[in-house]
Symmetry: C2
Subunit: 555 residues, 2 copies
């Protein structure tokens, strides 16, 4: 006879959930004790809940199935909310198991008592507090099913300590598929017909691909449609997972800066959404538009996140007679080895120069975000995981999860200095689990992006006290010592040669590594220095558009 | 004419709030820009929101008035929830300002859009989203008034970006008192009479002091009552702020371990609560009681957190004719200088040996928690701030806040290795602000307390996979490098001599310091090694009680 925790672990395993990112406390001790009865469950300890939830997010993006987390009451869940927000916005499946006081203990309002369900609802479409050991395994099955979707979502099961320690748990055999997704419906015939007619009519049209439409099968179908119809292909700004590189269709990501995204979208007659939402500005700015679809552009939805995006794209392909068309594929090409004083551009060049096949790039760095796509477009095939919900502190934890999901693939995390400090504890788990992650920290000694944002919101006349709020240079952060303090070998690079050599060594040596890339802020003197890169990262802007963009970006 | 942010800052200052712990993002840039119009507002940058909220908690405990925080949308608030939970449980006033998207932007469900009010309600008794620049300053006044209480509480004001940047803000002159508390009512005559008769009747009685009843005026009144009536004095397990040391009445804290608290409370006829709650077990355990008041003991409430605790105690004093009684005061005494291999006990001895007058001790370390009170009881007068809500990661941030509130006092933070890693980013703010904080990290290379809890929940047969979840030794954490990485000088001590010398140097040198105290886990082999300390920390247990306790603690 099993107790609740033992039966729960067995049911999770039967449902295909065999990884648990943990940060347990007293109320989770029976779950922890039960781990020895379920050796197939890989329990991965983290030092902070934001690492556990971010790792679960990164894991599910790569494994295409949920991991579970193990969190300690409402406060543990609170610490994990930011990265669960990222999972929620990316339609990524996660099963949270949040320990709680014993059911009979709640009445005493002990110190750690809080309203867990309310906190959970903020990020979870599915929330339940298990009421008895007998009901627990059905709760587990329901949680996993809810998480798997489609679309994937965060499901939170609250586990009172006495439900966990109670005897009489009976694992449920489950017929859940162990991998996402269950087969959802394809786009209806009339939708296909309407969109096909729009594309056949010509004009300036674009497909905006998001979510699961950024994997190879969908990309190939979209590229066939583009080749046949002349439509452009765009990817959403922050994809959960984008497959790209040599041999795959190239898709241009919409820019983070609304001013630039507006240029990308200018003049469109039709925008067709595939598992994506109509583009909006990341933030609002005084006097600037939030909704970025240009006037006169009609928005169509081919497939929502609840539909079969590949099937819908292929159906449209057939309707357009494009299913035998050869899609345009990215040619293999790499930038040269960079030289001289290190800059963010040269870091991106070195990554493009050295990126191994089948790498996973977790890219949270605003410093590199506008340049990396260009320099890695023709690198060997790889996946990019982006900051779906905008909650920083995601890259290092997500890199942990991606490396657990794909032990044979090299993971690179590109992170800004500010962002890295939210969940730096992830380094310890990388060391503990000996994960093949190279963490690259862009140390520009500031919240670089906020210098831009301070200008963009119209607060140009910022004084020294305001600017001090964006400064990370007094004292400067020493990421080499920080990494070594958690058992990860680390080096600092100030020249392109040092950086490239360090990256070569890191890629050649198993286990985690960190490289602190000391770079000037690309955001100071925005107009002079960055604009050329921004424009190049857009691909091939016609000169009048570039001029228009320059005018828009001028203060 | 001011914009919303400028008017808001002016109103905060007028209401006595002149410290803001910040971690801003784009939506807060107008608040940041406005800082240069309000130089009296001290804005203190943190690298993580949990540091900002924990600092606001520590600040208010010492300043007796709220600080504000500046947080970035729902995810920033989420990162700050755990330490706001501690403030909530300690009735500590905090004013959160949480930036949000512009009101018209919410409809687009941009990546960072989330339900901020719901997350805020989890910790805040008062929550409001400001609807217009014209209404903003009244919102600020209401938030500060709500935070001040009594009792103190967390108030969260959500500030949409367009309310912040809008023109037409008019600072409100405010007649709010700038310091807590407004004068609440004293205990009613009939309550005083009833409790006086109980105390006069003799028997075994105790006063349980919590909240504001642990400051000098209340302690003196309680000690007079004790001297006159023979009642014992207890303090709640985790006080928000306890004034103690030579020259003040000594009050024994209830033990964290329910088994020990039950021994402290055994045989009581009456328990009188003053700004405290009837004692309950921190966690529930199979087959053990949650409610710790012994059978046959009657609970009375002299004053709730909403009442005037000093006035109520003094009224009871007068009623008992105790107002001229000399209270028992703690004599000055310090432990000797410890020698030999470092242990947690010797760390506590060294702290007691060297503690400077008027120090502030933030004590989050379970490793030391049972021993420190004994070794510092006769040290010069000091304040102890404890983990009111049980959400770990509190001590380092609270030390930041306490040092900002009391720049002339030495702050010591005692933290376990596990706890320290939740909000270690606090070290950077200590360095940036050159705060006089000595952080002492007990590095026992494990979540030490959980080894006990694993036993206490009855999961004795834990196997290697369970035990691995409590292990922080692969890799070990190097707190010296971690501190140096954030600009704080640090040393490691493995002997009592090294530790004492390091503490002496740290206390003699301005600015932040960290000492990593490498100690064996006091929790392994609980019964053999710790029990004597636990018993001694209780003061003077009669031998039969000690024997009973030993039996209870046996597995």
């Amino acid at each position: 006879m099993a107790n609740g925790a033992q039966a729960m672990l067995r049911t999770l395993l039967d449902a295909g959930v065999n990884v648990c990112f943990t940060n347990p406390g007293t109320s989770e001790m029976h779950f922890v004790a039960a781990l020895d009865t379920a050796p197939e469950m890989r329990a991965i300890l983290t030092l902070f809940e934001g690492v556990a939830t971010g790792a679960a997010d990164g894991y599910a993006r790569m494994a295409d199935k949920p991991a579970s987390t193990l969190l300690h009451l409402g406060c543990g869940l609170g610490n994990g909310l930011a990265n669960l927000h990222n999972a929620r916005k990316g339609n990524v499946p996660v099963v949270n198991i949040v320990g709680d006081h014993a059911t009979y203990h709640a009445q005493y309002d002990a110190p750690l008592q809080s309203d867990i369900e309310t906190a959970a609802r903020n990020v979870s479409r599915w929330v339940r507090t298990s009421r008895s050991t007998a009901a627990l395994c059905q709760d587990v099955v329901d949680a996993v099913a809810a998480a798997k979707g489609p679309p994937g979502q965060v499901a939170t099961l609250i586990l009172p300590a006495d439900v966990s320690w109670g005897e009489g748990g009976a694992p449920l055999p489950t017929s859940l598929p162990t991998s996402l997704p269950a087969q959802p419906p394809r786009a209806a015939d009339d939708v296909i017909d309407k969109i096909a007619r729009v594309l056949q009519a010509g004009g300036k049209n674009a497909l905006l691909l998001g979510g699961r439409a950024l994997r190879e099968p969908a990309l190939l179908a979209a590229a066939r449609i583009a080749a046949r119809s002349g439509a452009r292909l765009y990817a959403e700004v922050f994809p959960a997972r984008l497959e790209r590189g040599a041999g795959l269709p190239h898709v241009e990501r919409l820019a983070y800066l609304a001013e630039m995204a507006s240029v990308q979208l200018a003049g469109l007659d039709n925008l067709i959404l595939i598992d994506a939402r109509a583009p909006v500005s990341f933030f609002a700015y005084p006097g600037k538009k939030s909704y970025l679809v240009p006037e006169g552009c009609t928005v169509h939805e081919l497939a929502s996140p609840r539909q079969d995006v590949v099937g819908s794209l292929e159906k449209l392909c057939v309707r357009l007679g494009a299913d035998q068309v050869a899609p345009a594929l990215q040619e293999a090409q790499r930038p040269g080895r960079p030289r001289g004083k290190l800059t963010a551009e040269k870091v991106c060049k070195a990554v493009g120069h050295l990126l191994p096949p089948n790498a996973i790039i977790v890219d949270e760095a605003q410093t590199s975000g506008t340049m990396l796509p260009m320099f890695t477009a023709g690198a060997p095939r790889h996946d990019v995981l982006a900051l779906t919900g905008g909650a920083i502190g995601q890259a290092l934890p997500a890199a942990v999860g991606a490396a657990i999901a794909c032990p044979d693939r090299q993971v690179l995390a590109l992170v800004g200095d500010g962002s890295a400090m939210y969940t730096f504890q992830a380094l310890w788990t990388m060391a503990r689990e000996r994960l093949n992650v190279v963490s690259i920290i862009f140390n520009n000694k500031s919240y670089g992006i906020l210098n831009v944002e301070l200008e963009r919101v119209g607060a140009q006349k910022a004084g020294p006290r305001a600017k001090s709020q964006l400064d990370l240079n007094s004292p400067g952060l020493d990421f080499v010592r920080l990494a070594e303090g958690m058992g990860v070998p680390a080096v600092r690079a100030t020249t392109a040669e040092e950086f490239t050599a360090a990256l070569e060594r890191a890629l050649a040596t198993p286990g985690p590594h960190l490289i602190e890339a000391v770079v000037p802020s690309v955001f100071s003197g925005l107009k002079l220095r960055v604009l050329p890169y921004l424009l190049r990262s857009l691909g091939t802007l016609p000169e009048p558009v570039a001029r228009a963009l320059k005018r828009k970006l001028a203060p």
